[in-house]
């Protein structure tokens, strides 16, 4: 068959080198689907970066990395769909379970679930946890994490925050004073303070907004600037006070082409878990635009391909 197949398209589609995430399924279908097996053989022989010639046994073998990579690139859409079909409570319960298994670097996911969901949704996640894993979320977290982070994380997931609009401003003021003193200590010391844990894990979000306001007045500086960015304390504060900032930051990190595999997964998680809350998604998109100059939609268009891209854009458009 004399068919000029555009193997560059295939290489592009599956190497993800220049463009980002996801796979251009249409291009692949056209090219690979139409190809004759001899052409594919030629393709394999010519693509030394993906295939290695096993001369003794006369076939072209895939590099391990290539297989891994292919699976990953194809799996994004798959993961997104599976996650999207799940009940939000199950979704969140599974996110927490996975974060616990992965360890240290993923504890911010627990903070995210505990602090950005409504009281009913967090409660729902705890119910789902019972159902899925035959244990309570708090017992799993408590037995797998130790020290000051345990206290904070268990506290945050156990909260059933008041969601009404009554606030006692004097309480907020005194909480702000306590926070001001505690945060002055370096590093993670602040979360060892029982009062900090109390304030962050029991107060209503509205109350915390008041605390934030008073804190900034007392200190003359922004609480959110004054805490180390990579700390769990910062994650908690950001999630509780300015969730759209938190989400736009992690979206930005996940869209960065140098991001690692784990970070890139954040994109799916944020979109799938927030898309049902159109107000929030809108806020996130606006915040992103303000912070990074481009719109989320643009960025996705540029950096993602195939069904994965279309799915994300569809979720995004739900909020408009």
């Amino acid at each position: 068959m004399a068919q000029t197949l555009d193997w560059d398209v295939v290489i592009d589609a599956i190497s993800g080198k220049n463009v980002g995430m996801g796979v251009d399924e249409k291009a692949l279908i056209t090219t690979l689907g139409n190809s004759h097996k001899d052409h594919r053989k030629l393709f394999r022989k010519a693509s030394k970066s993906f295939f290695e010639e096993d001369e003794e046994r006369a076939f072209e073998k895939c590099h391990d990395q290539f297989v891994k990579h292919l699976r990953l690139e194809f799996s994004r859409f798959n993961n997104a769909v599976v996650m999207w079909s799940m009940h939000p409570w199950e979704r969140d319960a599974r996110v927490v379970k996975k974060a616990l298994k992965k360890g240290d670097e993923c504890y911010s996911l627990i903070v995210e679930v505990a602090c950005t969901r409504s009281s009913e949704d967090l409660l729902g996640a705890r119910k789902a946890y019972h159902s899925l894993f035959d244990q309570s979320m708090e017992e799993d977290i408590a037995s797998n994490i130790h020290g000051s982070r345990r206290k904070l994380l268990v506290g945050l997931v156990s909260a059933y925050r008041y969601e009404g609009n009554k606030v006692k401003d004097d309480s907020a003021k005194s909480d702000a004073k306590i926070l001001a003193e505690a945060v002055a200590s370096p590093g993670e010391k602040a979360i060892e303070n029982d009062e900090v844990v109390r304030i962050l894990s029991t107060r209503s979000k509205l109350h915390l907004q008041h605390v934030y306001k008073h804190y900034n007045q007392i200190k003359g500086s922004d609480l959110l600037g004054g805490v180390s960015e990579s700390s769990i304390l910062n994650d908690a504060l950001l999630c509780l006070l300015k969730p759209s900032v938190y989400f736009s930051k992690i979206l930005n990190a996940s869209l960065n082409k140098d991001a690692d595999k784990g970070t890139k997964k954040w994109l799916t998680r944020v979109f799938v878990t927030r898309a049902d809350h159109s107000d929030e998604m809108k806020d996130i998109a606006e915040e992103y635009n303000q912070r990074y100059g481009e719109t989320l939609a643009q960025n996705i268009q540029e950096k993602i391909r195939g069904n994965y891209r279309d799915f994300l854009l569809t979720l995004l458009s739900k909020s408009n």
């Binding site: 019972h130 309570s136 708090e138 037995s143 156990s158 909260a159 009554k166 109390r198 029991t202």
Partner: protein
């Protein structure tokens, strides 16, 4: 098992509401009529009566009762008529206030309710007090008490019967080591008591007994008698493993004191009448050689006594 009696043919909520209204009318109040109705209705039925009363007469039944009644009888009727979640929320809130503060009550509500009941209490707390239960408990307790109580009140325990025996062994060992060194307030002890399911906790303490030859509660008796935290810890464990025995202890000291502790007596009878007051009564009789009803009638009088007896199911109305 519940103790109070509901007859097989119950008047409609509107009939009951009408009757209650007549009980309030004129000079004085017809307490007997109030008891004969409210003490013989289930939580669901009482809820309907309250709704109907409000629709027909434009006032919350609880408010009317408050206007007409007083003292211990009123407290008993009000607590009884409330929905369980509301009741627990009220008890918890009172327990955080200065003059009525009680770590024991907070622990009791947190540990003797099912996960669902505790959840209802937390929801009712939002609605009534415009705050979360945990923020109030945290704010009004300190140190070790806060650590224990906030964890207990925020728990949403798994309620299945599955037990991990290996885990039970490990955690029994941890607890044994901590208690040996008198580290009663250790994080691990608090973690285990406030996050594990009740089935798991029971298995853990059974293991403890097998491994060390004595019951955990016995081991804890050896501590300092004045250590209030230790006392609270003992009660916590008792509530999680043998709540009926805890309630028997509380009732016994409430009734035996020179001068009855009506607060405790009312609280236990109204909160357990729909749950396990029967078993509590049986245990009480076994340990005190006198029936709970007799002990109560010896120590109380008037309408208050009649109400308690009705909730015990020992009255003749049905």
């Amino acid at each position: 098992m519940a103790t109070f009696k509901v007859s097989s043919s119950v008047p409609s909520p509107s009939e009951d509401a009408e009757q209650l209204k007549t009980a309030f009318e004129g000079w004085g109040t017809n307490e007997d009529l109030i008891i004969s109705i409210l003490a013989h209705r289930s939580a669901e039925q009482r809820k309907l009566i309250r709704q109907t009363y409000h629709e027909v007469f434009g006032e919350d039944l609880l408010k009317s009762l408050d206007k007409e009644l007083s003292s211990d009888f009123e407290r008993a009727i009000l607590l009884w008529t409330m929905e369980p979640g509301e009741r627990d929320a009220l008890l918890a809130n009172e327990a955080t206030k200065r003059w009525t503060s009680s770590n024991q009550v907070l622990m009791e509500v947190a540990c003797t309710r099912t996960s669902t009941q505790l959840l209802h209490a937390r929801q009712a707390y939002h609605a009534r007090f415009k705050k979360s239960i945990e923020e109030d408990v945290a704010h009004h307790t300190t140190g070790d008490f806060r650590k224990l109580l906030v964890s207990l009140i925020s728990s949403y325990r798994y309620e299945g019967e599955e037990v991990n025996m290996t885990l039970a062994k490990q955690e029994a060992k941890i607890i044994h080591e901590k208690i040996k060194d008198k580290h009663y307030n250790d994080e691990e002890v608090i973690r285990i008591l406030s996050t594990r399911s009740k089935a798991q906790i029971n298995a853990t303490f059974n293991r403890y007994q097998d491994a060390h030859g004595e019951e955990i509660l016995k081991s804890l008796e050896e501590g300092d008698g004045d250590d209030k935290f230790l006392q609270l810890l003992r009660s916590t464990i008792q509530c999680l493993t043998r709540p009926e025995l805890y309630f028997v202890d509380v009732l016994r000291s409430a009734i035996n004191k020179s001068g009855t502790d009506e607060g405790a007596l009312t609280r236990i009878v109204t909160t357990r009448a729909e749950i396990d007051l029967k078993v509590i009564g049986q245990e009480f009789q076994r340990r005190n050689s006198i029936s709970l009803e007799k002990a109560i009638t010896k120590d109380t009088r008037g309408d208050y006594e009649k109400m308690l007896v009705a909730l015990l199911g020992e009255d003749d109305d049905a």
